[in-house]
């Protein structure tokens, strides 16, 4: 077991109403790696991601961060995790800046300015307008911009590119690469094929063992 692995799972299993979605799943991710989870709908991709974040309890096995089960070090682990799920997780009543400020308060603040972040995801013009007035693609970009608001090593993204257009995907593809170069890890699911450095990429197919 390479001790340099940041995120590991040991024979992880997940059951949803009497059906084994996956069993004794063991993966290990060193810094700079990206794991893309693929498989038909309902094969447990989302459940796996939610187990990795600790939102959902695994039915068997354990998730380790730097060699230790995440259950015992919730505060340190969550400092390093950034999760973007199906829901964008942004409040409609607040403006983009207010949403980002809250996201920053919930983790280790990164030293990138909020306006600069909005500029990177070209939402600068909408800084003060309420999220309610944004389109689905813009809301998704705001949700993804949260990744830049905090210093976190592990990005867990569930279908990050839903309702994003071509050049937004390229833009975030670039951001992912920078994150990997900085020694971060990404675990994501995606139907779109994204241009990512092949050597850092490992694919995980779910839905076969069943």
């Amino acid at each position: 077991m390479s001790t340099s692995a940041l995120l590991e799972t040991r024979n992880l299993s997940c059951i949803r109403n009497d059906r084994h979605l996956f069993e004794n799943l063991t993966i290990s991710l060193e810094p700079g790696r990206i794991l893309v989870v693929e498989g038909p709908n309902g094969c447990g991709k989302t459940s796996l991601l939610r187990i990795l974040t600790g939102l959902r309890l695994a039915d068997g096995g354990e998730v380790l961060w730097r060699g230790e089960p995440i259950g015992q070090q919730a505060a340190d682990y969550y400092e390093q995790v950034n999760y973007v799920g199906h829901h964008d997780g942004v409040k409609n009543e607040l403006s983009c800046i207010e949403n980002l400020r809250l996201a920053r308060a919930m983790g280790i603040p990164s030293n990138v300015g909020l306006d600069e972040i909005l500029e990177q995801v070209n939402l600068y013009a909408y800084g003060d307008s309420d999220v309610a007035s944004l389109s689905a693609g813009q809301k998704r970009r705001l949700a993804l911009s949260r990744l830049l608001a905090t210093e976190s090593l592990l990005w867990i993204l569930d279908e990050p590119f839903t309702s994003l257009d071509k050049d937004s995907m390229k833009l975030f593809g670039g951001l992912f690469e920078q994150h990997l170069q900085r020694g971060g890890i990404i675990v994501m699911t995606s139907h779109h094929d994204i241009s990512l450095p092949q050597q850092a990429l490992t694919r995980l197919k779910l839905g076969q063992q069943v």
Partner: protein
């Protein structure tokens, strides 16, 4: 001790043991309940004040005790679920709920039937009866919440939290209702109490209480076996049956 606790906790093992124990428990229950009924209905003398109506006590008091005992057992299961996440504790908790609710319902019905000859009305806002009524709502809350959640593993944890929160509140509710009762009714009304207890009355009461406890374990094992089959439908050990 922990090894036993763990081995006993594995569903197939418990399923077999419960199966073996049920006939013995039924026999024991029948013996105890006939002895208790004989003692309570025939041997015990009528009370000088209440005549024979006090004999309802032999059913009312044990079911009231059991309604409390079962809730405490469920709260303990709740703690086990939250701390060790033992699957068996989930099964025991949700199987105990209907039994506890039935005991509470019994305590209420027999209590009001006992109240009729004494006070002329079926329902009396007496402290203990009122707490039993609220306890019944707590039970129904637990059963309702468990049915409302599809994923049974999640439902078990929800019910565990509710049982623990409920257990913290039961003494508070009981104390508040007692306090409320003395505030409004004042000491004049004859307190809803058991008549002075002779040995000939106490023995049947204890026998009945013991038989109810044996009955609880019996019904619990029965319900657990059904619940286990329902929950473990396609696991391996069920195939061999």
């Amino acid at each position: 001790m922990f090894l036993w606790f763990h081995k006993f906790g594995s569903p197939p093992h418990f399923y077999r043991i419960a199966g073996k124990w049920i006939p013995w428990l039924s026999g024991l229950f029948l013996v105890l309940v006939t002895a208790g009924l004989f003692g309570g209905l025939i041997a015990a003398p009528p009370d000088y004040q209440q005549g024979d109506s006090y004999r309802i006590m032999f059913v009312h008091v044990p079911s009231a005790w059991m309604s409390m005992l079962v809730y405490v057992a469920m709260a303990v299961c709740g703690i086990i679920i939250m701390v060790w996440r033992m699957k068996l504790a989930e099964i025991v908790l949700i199987s105990s709920a209907p039994i506890g609710a039935s005991f509470t319902f019994l305590a209420l019905v027999t209590g009001s039937l006992w109240g009729k000859p004494m006070w002329g009305t079926y329902w009396v806002w007496d402290a203990r009866l009122t707490s039993e009524l609220i306890l019944l709502f707590l039970y129904l809350g637990i059963i309702g919440l468990h049915n409302a959640i599809e994923d049974k593993r999640v439902a078990a944890r929800a019910v565990a939290i509710l049982a623990i929160v409920g257990a913290v509140n039961v003494p508070i509710i009981h104390f508040s209702v007692e306090w409320w009762n003395t505030l409004h009714q004042g000491p004049t009304v004859t307190k809803f109490d058991k008549p002075s207890i002779y040995w000939s009355m106490l023995l049947p009461l204890l026998l009945m209480a013991l038989s109810f406890q044996v009955y609880y374990v019996l019904a619990l094992f029965q319900q657990c076996r059904a619940e286990l089959l329902r929950r473990e439908r396609n696991s391996k050990w069920v195939e061999e049956l």
